[in-house]
């Protein structure tokens, strides 16, 4: 995969040597002259795994014999890479927008052509090559606001509070930037984050110089968020930093929970009481599988709670085109909706955009929030594919549960939503010892062994933080059934052998 390759190149080309073999003078900018925030960004555990994976790929292509013919990479929430197809309607519209000559042909359904025409009409000069407005194309934002209101059963959405961005990670960074008034302890801005938490969130916050304040989700209770734990976390921050925000992700990543309405209410009450801005990452809102689970947005619950909460609790909610049925990670599109924020503060966001979101990504957002409806020519296919993908994901989750929970030493909380499975691995003491000898985290060691013996690439729980003394693994289930079957089969065989070897 592409992502692998970036970690494998380690040689630095010496242009000088190419020329005349003279010894290079000392470099001008050394590490000490680089931003501390950048230096503090933690190197991923994944980096070591990726390097080895690239080597293995090379060995395989050179004909080296292994117990497997190819790698199975189920690390990232990247559906297209894992065999999930792009949606036809989406790609037809985008193609017609890129090359409008296609609209004169009747090979494209009418609704595709109409949508492309509408979207192009919102671009200056009728071309996707022109600069869009800073906050996003206004008409697209208008429509998005209506869709958001529809999603939330009529709770109004003000288009002036919606900002399109090149992805939810970008939105989170900008929102965190707005909040970060100080980078020096003890007044350093702090943001509460869950444990476990996906890496890009942590990095987005810490690379700005702000501090993360971890609160532990309760694994035994299906990774539930407990208010007492939020309280403990907040207290622990005293004297270390100044907490101003609380980040939640629902549905979760890496843990696949879907928060109940009651849980969301508790969080809102806590944020209100403790005067914290709520940062609600809801990118997996379209990925819900649990029979008894339902996604309800933080904004909706907030509105339902009525005043004073609904008028005062400050909330930023994030979404993107990368997940769900679209899976369009490579287009880089998302948005943030700000609720109850001081309008004077909100004004500053437009200055921070630096012309960043591509027009295609903005169109993808429109297509995601306004899909084909019953009666539209593209609807039957769209609906069929959506259902098929949903069924496939439900099957994948079911299979993953069955396999994982049937293996002694592996157990998994119910995956109700999201893109990943995050099982707990009960590593035998001998395995932990061996890992230490090899200078690796125990769960990284497990993943490395899995890679060597089966070619399956997954990520270790230490990447996401976890309770001391516990170990986990994470892999993606937003993939074709074949990919998941293969990964699970290999995992099962490997795990049984591993536990035996280290018993």
């Amino acid at each position: 995969s592409n992502v692998l390759s970036q970690y494998s190149s380690s040689s630095i080309f010496n242009e000088k040597q190419m020329f005349d073999g003279l010894i290079r003078e000392a470099k001008m900018s050394v590490l000490q002259e680089i931003s501390q925030n950048v230096r503090n960004i933690k190197q991923l555990e994944y980096a070591a795994l990726a390097r080895r994976a690239t080597q293995i790929q090379k060995e395989l292509s050179q004909g080296v014999r292994k117990p497997y013919k190819e790698l199975t990479d189920v690390c990232w929430g990247d559906p297209h890479s894992l065999g999930v197809k792009p949606l036809t309607f989406v790609r037809q519209v985008l193609a017609a927008c890129v090359y409008p000559e296609l609209m004169s042909s009747h090979k494209l359904p009418l609704d595709v052509r109409q949508r492309a025409q509408w979207l192009l009409g919102k671009c200056e000069g009728g071309s996707i090559g022109s600069y869009p407005a800073s906050a996003g194309i206004p008409e697209i934002i208008q429509r998005m606001s209506k869709s958001i209101a529809r999603r939330d059963g009529g709770v109004p959405c003000n288009p002036e509070n919606v900002f399109i961005s090149p992805g939810s990670q970008w939105s989170l960074t900008v929102t965190s930037l707005l909040l970060t008034s100080c980078v020096y302890a003890p007044l350093r801005t702090g943001i509460l984050i869950p444990v476990p938490c996906h890496v890009t969130t942590i990095t987005s916050i810490t690379s700005l110089g702000a501090a993360v304040v971890p609160y532990f989700l309760s694994e035994e209770h299906g990774w539930a968020l407990q208010v007492e734990e939020l309280q403990r976390a907040l207290e622990s921050a005293k004297g270390g930093c100044n907490p101003i925000a609380l980040y939640v992700i629902n549905p979760g990543n890496p843990a696949g929970y879907v928060q109940s309405r009651k849980s969301i209410q508790e969080v809102i009450r806590f944020a209100s009481e403790k005067r914290l801005v709520l940062l609600a990452d809801e990118v997996y809102q379209d990925c819900v599988y649990g029979k008894n689970s339902e996604f309800v947005s933080y904004k909706k619950v907030l509105a339902e709670m009525g005043p004073p909460f609904s008028d005062t609790v400050e909330l930023a909610s994030f979404h993107s085109v990368s997940k769900g049925f679209m899976g369009e990670c490579g287009l880089r599109g998302g948005y943030v909706e700000l609720v109850n924020l001081d309008p004077n503060v909100v004004n500053y966001i437009s200055n921070l955009n630096y012309d960043t979101t591509s027009v295609l990504a903005q169109f993808a957002l429109d297509l995601m929030m306004n899909p084909p409806r019953p009666g539209d020519p593209s609807y039957p296919l769209y609906n069929q594919v959506r259902n098929a993908v949903n069924n496939m994901l439900v099957q994948n989750v079911k299979m993953a549960h069955e396999v994982v929970n049937s293996l002694p030493g592996l157990s998994c909380q119910p995956v109700e939503g999201g893109a990943f499975v995050f099982p707990r691995v009960f590593l035998p003491p001998r395995a932990i010892q061996k890992a230490k000898e090899e200078g690796m985290q125990p769960d990284t060691f497990y993943c490395m062994r899995l890679l060597e013996e089966t070619g399956v690439l997954i990520t270790p729980g230490c990447e996401y933080r976890q309770k001391e003394g516990t170990y986990h693994i994470r892999f993606c289930i937003m993939a074709s059934q074949d990919t998941i079957n293969k990964a699970l089969k290999h995992l099962a065989t490997f795990h049984t052998k591993f536990m035996k070897d280290f018993s």
């Binding site: 801005v277 630096y354 960043t356």
Partner: protein, 499 residues
């Protein structure tokens, strides 16, 4: 904030206020999209709603957006990108074979053969290889290593990334970054956002906006009192001034950077937009290497390019790259780590960049059309550059340096004292006042020189000379545009009726 109880719960002020938010963010201004543009958008809305005005449309000459101003996209580029978006189109024989081949190659490098998959953070490897080859060809064979190429979300993204990497220290040790006056306000905005120290060096208006090392030295020495100067930014060809630096000038700058231990950032996004006789684009890298190993192995540099300008004008795609030269390996590791935080640049933009650096070759079916379109765009731009200079220099009160490159002109206006006083009364900077009046009365949107920086007491505006309606090619004397230019004179005299 007053506290009143409602249902027993006290109403308090906001958690996040203008007082406790990030102070750096408050200092960020981005004139190109600032208040004058916001007013222009509002006026357009009013026009749509039927409000009567002395004009029927707003001419937005504030941003270098070619397609918005009628320039057509290049067919080949759009064909390949359509094929990448919806590969089923490969069955359609209306698409030429070379377009299909390019699309297949790009898709082959994408996860799951989809432009919707994440790419490596540094950018798709085969595209970086193509970029490296393009740079080698451009620079007469000087090697370029794909590992030193970082694809980005437009050049702006790469520029901000480098600044994020290099800005550090506190108080007197805070990093100082040298940038020209006038400059493209992305730089001042990013520096404000990062809390870096901006070190301004003046371009010489009398000498066609050229860069003078003596001025660089002056600015640097003054700055050493209060910060740690580490970076020197150059925009060549220039924005907003359009000047193309001479080879000698580039050599002098490189020498200066070496002497003073500065990291060079060369913004070269307009490298294909050079029009004036006797002017030529010299890439900083090429000049660096031709200066011999003493320089080419020590001077650190990053050069930036994008798909937004030149003949493509594809601003909306957000395609771009930077090439880093002579970076300490440990520092480069940090850079690679930093770009991975953003995940990856938009894949369609990467694909577009690949086509720009790897265009149709003479033996390929799309070559003839491609070259025809490219030539047409570049010659139209050249003609507009020439006309702009001619028209402005015919208006009293306005002086305009030769438009050598890019897409802009930055004429100087002499404002009567009365106008300056009136502006002060209204709490506006004089050139902002002038531009606001021009917008309200004639519907032309420009950006005042104060948004880009200028010498104290001088006034300018930046005009993007792309719009077709602003500069028709014939009948200058009777054209609407000439009347518009006459307006400038009229305005000046209205403000000073005693003259």
């Amino acid at each position: 904030m007053s506290q009143q109880a409602v249902n027993g719960v006290p109403c308090r002020g906001k958690v996040l206020t203008v007082d406790n938010m990030n102070p750096n963010v408050k200092r960020v201004e981005y004139a190109v999209r600032g208040p004058i543009v916001q007013r222009a958008v509002q006026i357009e809305k009013e026009l749509r709603e039927g409000v009567k005005k002395p004009f029927t449309e707003v001419i937005k000459a504030n941003i270098g957006d070619a397609h918005a101003m009628g320039q057509k996209p290049i067919t080949f580029l759009r064909q390949v990108l359509a094929l990448c978006s919806y590969p089923e189109l490969m069955e359609d024989n209306k698409f030429p074979e070379d377009a299909k081949k390019r699309a297949q190659r790009i898709l082959g490098a994408c996860g799951g053969h989809s432009i919707g998959a994440y790419s490596a953070s540094q950018g798709i490897e085969c595209i970086r290889q193509d970029v490296a080859r393009y740079i080698e060809k451009r620079d007469g064979g000087i090697p370029s290593n794909p590992d030193n190429i970082y694809l980005s979300t437009g050049a702006s993204d790469a520029i901000v990334t480098m600044l994020k990497l290099l800005v550090c220290g506190e108080g007197r040790d805070r990093t100082g970054v040298m940038i020209s006056i006038p400059q493209y306000p992305l730089y001042s905005a990013a520096l404000a956002d990062l809390g870096a120290v901006q070190i301004s060096y003046y371009l010489d208006e009398e000498k066609c906006w050229s860069l003078d090392v003596a001025e660089l030295r002056r600015a640097l020495n003054a700055a050493r009192q209060h910060c740690n100067p580490r970076v020197l930014c150059i925009i060549n060809p220039g924005n907003p001034t359009g000047q193309v630096q001479s080879r000698q000038c580039i050599e002098d700058v490189i020498r200066f950077a070496k002497e003073e231990h500065l990291f060079l950032m060369a913004d070269e996004v307009y490298q294909d937009n050079v029009y004036a006789e006797g002017c030529k684009f010299h890439s900083f890298k090429k000049v660096l290497f031709e200066m011999g190993p003493e320089y080419s192995s020590t001077v650190e540099m990053a050069s930036f390019h994008s798909t937004s300008k030149c003949y493509m004008g594809e601003c909306g795609f957000r395609g771009g790259y930077m090439e880093v030269i002579n970076m300490d390996p440990e520092v480069k590791t940090q850079l690679t780590k930093l770009v991975s935080v953003r995940l990856c640049p938009p894949v369609p933009g990467q694909a577009l960049l690949d086509l720009v650096v790897n265009p149709p070759q003479p033996d390929e079916p799309s070559y003839a059309t491609f070259m025809k379109e490219r030539t047409a765009v570049l010659s139209a731009l050249a003609e507009k550059a020439r006309l702009t200079e001619q028209i402005f220099n015919a208006v009293p009160g306005i002086t305009c340096n030769p438009v050598q490159g890019a897409m802009y002109t930055f004429p100087r206006i002499t404002l009567p004292q009365k106008a300056i006083d009136k502006a002060k009364e209204e709490g506006k900077v004089p050139d902002m006042y002038y531009c606001m009046r021009l917008l309200e009365e004639e519907g032309i949107c420009l950006v005042p020189g104060s948004g880009f920086g200028q010498r104290e007491g001088t006034f300018h505006f930046r005009l993007v000379w792309l719009p077709a309606s602003l500069l028709p090619p014939v009948h200058i004397q009777t054209s609407k545009s000439f009347n518009l230019m006459r307006f400038y004179v009229t305005t000046l005299y209205c403000l000073n009726p005693d003259d």
